[in-house]
């Protein structure tokens, strides 16, 4: 790690490249917007009770059997 720091300018260039790649990866997903399933999910939930019931239902569905 120390060797990289010594390279100074190169390190700054590498850091900028890493930042760019990280944001490119992330923003590609952000640009996909809101998938319909989530818009519908939030629209149809009346409130906390309905959501809590859905959480409980989901837990039952993917019952892991305890590990």
């Amino acid at each position: 790690m120390k060797e990289i720091k010594k390279q100074g300018g190169l390190n700054a260039e590498i850091q900028s490249r890493i930042g760019h790649q990280l944001r490119a990866m992330y923003d590609d997903v952000v640009r996909q917007g809101v998938p319909d399933r989530f818009a519908e999910l939030i629209r149809k939930l009346d409130g906390p009770e309905a959501a809590a019931a859905a959480v409980a239902g989901g837990d039952t569905d993917k019952n892991n059997g305890g590990d």
Partner: protein
């Protein structure tokens, strides 16, 4: 706080970045969307505990991050299988060269310890302040700063350490990954 229509809209507006965070953490689009769904359900189930005027995205990210971490222990095997799946979640396929570079970046990111990876993503991609990232991860601001710095150093080492010499970054990454099996 009650679930007003305004709050619903605000939650929905956070979905794109929640998905990006989930995919960055898990490397797997399907699992990421399951995580987002679970996050939304739990957020709405516990909406009474959300403080009006506080940072809604940070609150949602905290829920997702905690779900991921508890889920991660159960599914470690699937996470190891995730490499390469990320590209399938992209709408527009990048060019061959860009794709290769992207896969290498993704592979290097997956090599980071989880603490460092999430800190780097929150600060470097989601755009949270160090303070918000610390709140999301439940640790001190200084800890987040040091995790981000270590993550950047490690990514540099994985991706570019020999780039000034004879090896291109491609060879470097393969050598690092290949030599890491034991």
């Amino acid at each position: 706080m009650p679930l007003t229509n305004e709050l619903r809209d605000d939650i929905l507006a956070s979905v794109p970045s929640l998905r990006a965070f989930a995919i960055s953490l898990s490397g797997n689009g399907d699992r990421a969307d399951d995580l987002v769904q679970e996050t939304l359900l739990r957020a709405i189930a516990n909406i009474d505990s959300f403080q009006p005027g506080s940072n809604l995205p940070a609150w949602l990210f905290t829920i997702l991050r905690n779900l991921f971490r508890s889920d991660y222990r159960k599914r470690r095997r699937e996470v190891e299988d995730a490499e390469g799946n990320y590209a399938k979640t992209l709408k527009s396929q990048p060019s061959q060269a860009a794709h290769l570079e992207f896969e290498e970046f993704r592979a290097a990111l997956d090599k980071l310890p989880q603490d460092q990876r999430e800190a780097l993503i929150l600060v470097g991609a989601s755009g949270f302040s160090y303070e918000d990232a610390a709140a999301i991860c439940g640790c001190a601001v200084g800890t987040i700063k040091s995790r981000v710095n270590r993550a950047r150093s490690k990514l540099s080492a994985l991706l570019y350490v020999d780039s000034a010499e004879d090896f291109g970054p491609d060879n470097t990454v393969r050598a690092v990954i290949g030599g890491n099996g034991g």
